[in-house]
Symmetry: C2
Subunit: 413 residues, 2 copies
Amino acid sequence: MSHAVSPLAPKSNPTLPAIEGVRFATAEAGIKYKNRTDVLLAIFDPGTTVAGVFTTSKCPSAPVDWCRKNLAGGTARALVVNSGNANAFTGKKGVETVTITADIAARAVGCAPSEVFLASTGVIGEPLDPTKFEGVLAETATRVADGPYIAAAEAIMTTDTFPKVATRTVDLGGVAVSINGIAKGAGMIAPDMATMLSFIFTDVAIDPAVLQGLVSAGVVDSYNALTIDGDTSTSDTVIAFATGKAAARGQAPIGSADDPRLPAFKAALEGVMLDLARLVARDGEGARKFVTVTVEGAVSKASARRIAMSIANSPLVKTAIAGEDANWGRVVMAVGKAGEPADRDRLAIWFGDVRVAVEGERDPAYSEAAASAHMKQDEIDIRVEIGLGDASDRVYTCDLTKEYVAINGDYRS
Amino acid sequence: MSHAVSPLAPKSNPTLPAIEGVRFATAEAGIKYKNRTDVLLAIFDPGTTVAGVFTTSKCPSAPVDWCRKNLAGGTARALVVNSGNANAFTGKKGVETVTITADIAARAVGCAPSEVFLASTGVIGEPLDPTKFEGVLAETATRVADGPYIAAAEAIMTTDTFPKVATRTVDLGGVAVSINGIAKGAGMIAPDMATMLSFIFTDVAIDPAVLQGLVSAGVVDSYNALTIDGDTSTSDTVIAFATGKAAARGQAPIGSADDPRLPAFKAALEGVMLDLARLVARDGEGARKFVTVTVEGAVSKASARRIAMSIANSPLVKTAIAGEDANWGRVVMAVGKAGEPADRDRLAIWFGDVRVAVEGERDPAYSEAAASAHMKQDEIDIRVEIGLGDASDRVYTCDLTKEYVAINGDYRS
């Protein structure tokens, strides 16, 4: 089953530079799909540090458990990602599969299994046959190159309608360091759930603990600020690999979170992460509108986040956006149900630049025509002023359309 | 805009008996609708006690604020409910409206405004003109009678596709006491949100504090165990009125929560509440399936409730049910995202009587045909065994269909 490319897909993709120390290739392992790539093998030069963040699900997939364990080592030599089967809820077989797959990859690459990171996305509850990787990874390892990243992004797609890539280059004390990222989600593959996978590659020389701090902080306002339907996959994975090759060009390694160069690198990394998160929202199932929800004047950032997520996850708000309806009453409802401090009579709400409600009532100057004009755009901005404090937050989502229901409900009929 | 009657509507309604001390009538006030009743006036004999539970929204409607205040008095003489306008997010005007409406009702009935209870459902953000009630309530007060309750249930409908009534009779020490209930929801009226209103009438003689305890406890496993889309109205209201007329037939008043007759009354009251809550789920917007989610083996009832609600609110689970797909992978996902104690490798999941997953994997004996046969029914039962404790809980919902999106997103297009 394939779907037309999202109308919210970017008109063009950036060209990602080679990252020294990162080589990769894709292959057709025939795990589920026919006539498309479904495996990505990336090989990292020795000395590559690694950091990651995984699903908060209490029922994580076997590859997530595997990566969490290996992350403690702090170094990575290989990444294997497959689409078509998530190896989730596969019991003991799933654990065997990741063990065997990592062994196959380790032999192909020439490293320890503990340096191999794995991610799987696709069907859940179906055993993933690790022998599928046996010949494939060895052969793929012979073809690795330093690009193109768009091919890597394509191999990890499930029902994504377009590949997702982002890049930044940052000057660290006169040395140019590059950060590339790829992501997939929120595609759906029967009978599976949406999964967000994202992999980041950089040549920065950095201590893994410092990198982990950056990745953990960076997901907060990017991937964790993203919601398609409030559902959380068993397999969500973000891993960053830093080859350290910039050191050979004179970049003194970053060994501490106090390093004065860190803010610039952090901003670039977060730029990549935010680009990718926004691309995922733009490819939300059935999405016709990209929606940014901003909450200001809340008592804390955490409170603003919960209010923003209450709005972004409300089926009533999301269907109203699909209907191009400036339905601020549903935004009031979503603020109210968030359970966070809010005062009905201090609330103000904007759609785009149009203030539709103020001080607990419809804005007397509210122009239905102006609000409706905003709702017809591809990009919808909802802003809520709570009026109780100084904290703000922003999250990203998409509308809820009949196509979402069709994609997720009709595929067997 | 009207919708076809839900395929899940009951084939017949019970006939509700007269409740001594309760008289009511309905009227056409033309608040929004044409050619249908939109006002319910109920008058209670002196001595009627009252108890209520209201929305947890931080942005409640003006009538909710009004009722919360009056509840402290413990007695009620009148109830006024209108459909077509929720008087929510209407600022100071909304407060004036409830004050004026209660004055009008108090004059029509001959009581204090503090004994008048109000509820409104319909458009939000539009001022509700209280003068609409001026002539209407006085005239309606001249026509009150002890039935039929189905007409009261009809007057409070918004886009409900059928009226909702329930009844029980219970023997309290040789005296028959009746409990009648009506409800509306989860209908939607542009540009409004679903609202659940429910009113319960009984002739039991009971202290208001004891009644309040019963109502507060009773909502937990009825109305609060109900979710259509996870959205919470600014106006949700449940009020119980007890006329005490059974005392004249020999029922000694219930004055304490330790009264040995209380369990029987409590069971009957909860029966009415559960009937009504289930009827609301059966009239969920666009619903084609009535869904019961049971979670067993959780570490506490609260934990079981959160897991059950995570399943019942998951768009991916609800669209799968709409597609008649026994997609247990999405149930695993919803268990995992609930954030409650759960062990992937102890989970078991049933659709109807068919165990589809056990010990962290697909049940080896799982029959796709048997599971699919269950999914084709109107009533879907999902049961999850967590395997960590003894606590269980049950919630009710419906499927998520394209019609839901159409009802909530298409009405302006």
